[in-house]
């Protein structure tokens, strides 16, 4: 099905946008019609009206009443058309914005659901850089295109009326004006092309200034900057990056300036043509009123042409964003090919078979031919040095990444054959960094899958957090964090950890994964948390990633990883007897804890 999606040619982005508008808010079309009528008439009136007035003024017998009459008509027409023009313009504005917001929502949803590998892939961001910008503001991408489309027909109609007027004077004037505007269009295109060729440089320079912007604005840097006296240095670099940015920017502006001077020549040409013809026609008998009107029409035509060409250029530029946006939403980013439901069993058996893996777009293999089996109900500790790929194992098992070679089996079936969401529902994972959300306590536990309050409380009790939550004025409905609600509560590190346990308990998963869950806690809090883990784990299969060997020694099996992958595997006693790397690490870590305690034990 996914493949079919790609082969079917999608209609042009503009057509898709119009269809989207029709499907979501057709009322905009009525605003558009009224706007177009008023907005095209209104400026032309301003050009034609003075002719009638001047004709009256030039006349032999002046009748004050007719002056009054002409002015009154002028007032009426321009008042009505300009009022409606403004009103329809603004009243439709939000509706158009809402169209963009709807598109943004589609994009946002994709962000939340696309395969995790894209999240960690930095090139993914580059590839869709334009797409992500397409819904970012009122005056670019999708919304800009809608606004431009809204206005452009009226502008075209006005131009047609001007062209008719000017051509009545002489087609040459029209041609001269047209030529100067067209030249202006092409030169601006050259400038734009140049700017585009420099866009990487510009983006690069911009990113560098932005980096300093972020660093300096981040209060977390405050201590280090002060203690190491880095303020001056950072500022110098910051300034330096700004100058680097300006260097590129200036080159673009120089190009623009050069072409602008070139344009001036053609503007001169069209000015000469217009004035020469006007004066000559006058000398040949045209009256002053027409002279004024034609002059006005020529000026208005050249302005209007410039505006519309500017608009078209903007549209063309913004279309790049829009096209990329559609490319983004058309790309199948969610892989969920599996069909099997989760197995009925209480808990799981996991097997890594010849698994090799390296992160996308990197060269270094994290594992080569990894083989590892976790029996049902077994507790496996994964320990080892930093960077040995302990967490990667978790990411593979939870299908955040796909294996390069080999297979991972759960209950004897390749994990890819399971339906993704059903599969994920089988795991409860507690990471080192607990993300607490600015939601009420309840939703921080349920993550949106609300069941009864008793169930939530039950999890909080088992996690040892019920006292704390009960003490909050809002109870389960009390907001966490202060982002959303000033009365929100910020929990301590240990409490956050407990909340994470409650969250994991609530999920009622078949298998538990604990990924360095206590490294930021003090010794007593840590000991407390370990008690709670027992609640969570009970007799389920468990993977426990840690580099505190004391806390993993009671696991059924221990897998020791280093840069070469899995090097030692067995129970704590087996590995200690092996006197290999695990032994070494355990002894090193425990060294300073030794003498006192042993003395103590002999006493006891």
């Amino acid at each position: 099905m996914e493949n079919v999606k790609q082969t079917v040619k999608k209609p042009h982005a503009l057509v898709r946008m119009l269809k989207y508008l029709k499907d979501n808010d057709p009322a905009i079309i009525w605003f558009f019609v009224v706007y177009t009528i008023c907005s095209s008439i209104h400026p032309v009136v301003g050009v034609v009206f003075p002719k009638y007035l001047i004709t009256l003024l030039l006349g032999e017998n002046v009748v004050i009443n007719s002056v009054l009459f002409v002015v009154a008509i002028f007032f009426l027409i321009s008042a009505v058309t300009s009022f409606l023009e403004s009103y329809t313009f603004y009243a439709s504005n939000t509706r158009i914005t809402y169209l963009r917001i709807r598109y943004l929502f589609i994009q946002f949803k994709l962000f939340l659901t696309m395969d995790y590998k894209y999240v960690e892939d930095p090139t993914f961001g580059n590839e869709y850089e334009l797409a992500f910008e397409a819904c970012s503001s009122n005056n670019n991408g999708i919304e800009q295109i809608y606004h431009s489309m809204f206005e452009i027909v009226a502008k075209i109609l006005s131009i047609i009326m001007y062209v008719v007027l000017v051509s009545m004077l002489t087609p040459w004037a029209f041609l001269a004006i047209f030529l100067s505007v067209i030249v202006g269009y092409f030169t601006s295109k050259f400038v734009e092309r140049y700017r585009y060729s420099k866009r990487m440089e510009l983006a690069h320079a911009n990113r560098k200034t932005r980096y300093y912007n972020e660093v300096t604005y981040d209060f977390k840097f405050g201590k280090d900057i002060r203690l190491y006296g880095l303020g001056e240095k950072v500022m110098d670099c910051y300034r330096n990056e700004i100058f680097n940015y300006l260097k590129v920017f200036r080159r673009i502006k120089n190009k623009e300036y050069g072409w602008a001077l070139f344009d001036l020549f053609f503007v001169l040409l069209s000015d000469i043509t217009v004035y020469a013809f006007l004066i000559i026609k006058y000398l040949e008998g045209m009256d002053l009123a027409s002279f004024t009107m034609y002059l006005g029409a020529c000026l208005a035509l050249s302005t209007a042409l410039k505006t519309i060409i500017g608009d078209l250029t903007v549209m063309r530029n913004e279309m790049r964003y829009v096209k990329d946006f559609f490319r983004f939403i058309d790309t199948p980013l969610v892989t969920n090919d599996g069909t099997l439901p989760p197995p009925e069993d209480e808990t799981l058996e996991v097997e890594f078979q010849n698994v090799s893996f390296k992160y996308p777009k990197t060269e270094k293999y994290i594992y080569k031919n990894l083989n590892l089996k976790i029996a049902k109900g077994e507790k496996l500790a994964i320990v080892g040095v930093n960077g040995a790929g302990k967490t990667t194992l978790v990411k593979l098992l939870t299908r955040l990444f796909d294996v390069e070679e080999g297979e991972i089996l759960v209950n004897g079936v390749s994990i890819k054959q399971y339906e993704l969401f059903g599969y994920l529902s089988m795991f409860s994972v507690v990471f080192q960094n607990i993300n607490i959300y600015a939601f009420p306590v309840r939703q921080n536990v349920t993550m949106g899958h609300d069941r009864t309050d008793e169930e939530v409380w039950d999890c909080l009790i088992k996690a040892g957090l019920e006292e704390k939550i009960a003490s909050l004025s809002g109870g389960l409905d009390h907001m966490l964090l202060k982002v959303i609600d000033e009365n929100g509560v910020e929990l301590s590190g240990g409490e956050n950890q407990k909340l994470a346990i409650a969250r994991a308990l609530f999920k009622q998963a078949k298998m538990i994964i604990l990924d360095e869950p206590t490294s930021a806690l003090d010794a007593l809090a840590e000991a407390d948390i370990y008690q709670r883990f027992n609640e969570l784990v009970s007799d389920k299969t468990t993977i426990y990633v840690s580099h505190r060997l004391a806390s993993t020694k009671f696991c059924d099996k221990i897998a020791f990883f280093n840069e070469n992958g899995l090097v030692e595997y067995g129970t704590h006693d087996e590995l200690m007897a092996l006197e290999g790397q695990y032994y070494n690490m355990f002894v090193t870590q425990g060294k300073y804890y030794q003498t006192e305690e042993n003395d103590d034990e002999t006493v006891a």
């Binding site: 603004y90 955040l400 994920l424």
Partner: protein, 619 residues
């Protein structure tokens, strides 16, 4: 008043960034008003000449144009025509030139403003940086800059105001040669327009204000989707619907209120456009009557053109002027947090008579401390002393006040009560730079910059390659550094520089320790510097620590109790109070003490039968 002060502050900062920017702005104003005057005046002469040609019957009926006549009978009229064309050319040229200069300058100013705030953030009293109020203030200031482009709009509006002011003066001068009444009539209608605008502006300000909290919430939920760390949770806990529901709800709320607001805006603008039409009508009517000799001295058709043009432009200019004025005051409102931040007190760079060259002793005497705006004493009556060369460990539960104590010692905060002495002199008395030089610290949340590795480590200290390499070896990151493409010159952080490298948390910690050691201060403070290191790396660092810190005084904070074993003395902090200060051996005798409990909680699982020794293994 507040706004005015903000405005002057803005001018002051802008002027500091670039004085030439103001020159350019004023030149731009002169230029555009010159252009307008030329556009208004020159056609008058052309039209008058045209009328003269007709009235004096110089144009024969049925005349057919011959090229030679340009220089004879009609030289005057073509001259005026040529003048208009040339004026257009000249102003076109000046305008483009000015634009070229201004564009670059504006971009510079635009980028430098955040730079000024950056400078401020790095210079303010540290205590602001930990105060949630100022964190929020900064966020609001940042929001005004990035989401409302407040600074850019302010700068642009300011430029426009200068331009329009000069233009308006020129136009008034022209119109006064016709009549003061027309001017008054125009001013009345303009006043009407402004009243509507002011009314609407007030409405809009309160509208926008009501949206701030909604927007902040919306922004928060959106950020959940666009931020890395949440992505795992969202997938593993299937939380996308939860977030999407919130976003959808806020989308609808925001859009509903925007719809109302924009409908109002449409009505208001519509009414203003009606008044504009009325203005035009008044202008045409009055000037037409004057051309006919009614309501005053008769004027020529050329003057008709001139006055109509200037009057039409006048109302446009004045409205724009006020528009920009409103924009300026609106932006100043938006920038209120920015301005508030910019007026914060800087850290007093104390140029004291006491210069610290070496730390011989440190003494806390009855030190108590509560964070600003809080009544809760984080530290209560703490007294202890450290001799030069001692290794001190500070132990306590999470939130006991350990890090706070360090912050006081680093002069990031001042104690409320009591005094901290270094060499028997109150630390507040020391010259800031010399004091900073003698203390180095690695905090739990230490930060590294996207500089090269060596720049990160050396910072502002002079570069000494040998010393650098030595320290790399000591902290155990030498091999890693040498394996990088540009070795110590490799930048950190890939997003900043494609050549950059991303180090692991443990490696970064080693670098942070290297940085602290490189500084050669006489006091080294390590606040949980090894939490991200694996046990081997941690043990390595501990074992080498005595070498690493040399004869320096050292203070450690760690949750791994093993690290306190090799310290000379251990300070136990419980609930903000110093409850014990003794050696490890002595403390372990007190079986009821917090220290004993903490130690045993970790130690019990590490017990191995006596006699087991570390085997030599290549790791």
């Amino acid at each position: 008043m507040k706004r005015l002060r903000s405005f002057f502050l803005f001018i002051k900062i802008a002027f500091k960034i670039s004085p030439s920017y103001f020159v350019l702005l004023i030149l731009g104003g002169l230029l555009s008003s010159g252009q307008i005057v030329a556009n208004v005046l020159l056609p008058k002469y052309l039209v008058d000449e045209l009328v003269r040609l007709t009235n004096q019957k110089i144009i024969a009926p049925g005349y057919a144009f011959k090229f030679g006549d340009i220089f004879t009978a009609f030289s005057q009229v073509f001259l005026f025509g040529a003048l208009i064309v040339l004026a257009n050319l000249l102003f076109g040229f000046l305008d483009k030139t000015h634009k070229r200069l201004l564009d670059v300058k504006t971009s510079y100013v635009d980028k430098m403003f955040p730079g000024e705030m950056a400078k401020k953030i790095m210079a303010v009293n540290y205590q602001y940086l930990e105060d949630p109020y100022y964190l929020d203030l900064k966020e609001r200031a940042l929001f005004a800059q990035t989401n409302q482009s407040a600074l850019r709009n302010l700068v642009n509006a300011f430029a426009m105001i200068i331009q329009e002011t000069i233009t308006i003066i020129a136009l008034i001068t022209i119109m006064l040669t016709l009549s003061v009444y027309l001017l008054i009539a125009l001013l009345i209608t303009i006043g009407l327009i402004l009243l509507i605008r002011i009314y609407f502006k007030n409405y809009q300000v309160s509208f926008m204000r009501s949206l701030i909290p909604v927007n902040r919430r919306y922004g928060y939920y959106m950020s959940l989707g666009f931020n890395f760390p949440y992505a795992k949770d969202i997938r593993l806990y299937d939380a996308s619907d939860l977030i999407l529901d919130h976003v959808k709800k806020y989308n609808e709320t925001i859009m509903k209120s925007f719809l109302k607001n924009y409908q109002k805006l449409g009505l208001m603008t519509g009414f203003i456009r009606i008044i504009n039409a009325l203005q035009s009508a008044i202008i045409y009517l009055y000037i037409a009557f004057r051309t006919l000799g009614i309501w005053g001295e008769k004027i020529s058709l050329g003057s008709f053109t001139m006055y109509v043009n200037s009057a039409l432009r006048f109302s446009g200019s004045v409205t724009r002027f006020f528009d920009q004025f409103v924009t300026v005051s609106q932006m100043l409102d938006y920038l209120e947090p920015f301005m508030e931040f910019m007026s914060l007190e800087d850290e007093a760079e104390k140029k004291g008579n006491h210069v610290l060259t070496k730390i011989d002793s440190i003494r806390f005497e009855n030190v108590s401390f509560a964070y600003p705006k809080s009544d809760k004493l984080v530290l209560e009556n703490i007294s202890f002393s450290i001799k030069a060369g001692e290794r001190i460990s500070i132990v306590g539960l999470n939130g006991a006040g350990k890090t706070t104590l360090i912050k006081l010692l680093c002069r990031l905060y001042k104690p409320q009560q009591g005094t901290i002495y270094v060499n028997d002199i109150d630390i507040q008395e020391y010259d800031s730079e010399s004091y900073r030089k003698q203390i180095t610290a690695v905090f739990q949340d230490f930060q590294m910059f996207a500089y090269s590795i060596e720049d990160n480590v050396t910072g502002v200290e002079p570069k000494d390659q040998e010393k650098l390499m030595h320290i790399f070896k000591q902290v155990g990151i030498y091999d890693k550094v040498m394996s990088l493409p540009n070795q110590a010159k490799t930048p950190l952080n890939k997003t900043y520089d494609e050549e950059g490298t991303e180090l692991s948390g443990g490696e970064l910690q080693k670098l942070a320790i290297a940085r602290a050691l490189y500084k050669d201060a006489s006091l080294v403070i390590l606040d949980e510097p090894t939490s991200a290191l694996d046990p081997l790396a941690e043990a390595e660092i501990y074992q080498q620590f005595n070498d690493l810190v040399h004869d320096k005084t050292a203070i450690y904070i760690s949750h791994r109790m093993s690290s306190s074993v090799f310290c000379d003395r251990i300070l136990i902090i419980d609930g903000g109070k110093a409850v014990d200060y003794d050696t490890h051996q002595n403390l372990m005798q007190k079986k009821e003490s917090l220290y004993y409990k903490l130690f045993m909680a970790q130690a019990k699982n590490y017990q191995i039968e006596n006699g087991l020794k570390l085997k030599e293994h290549a790791v």
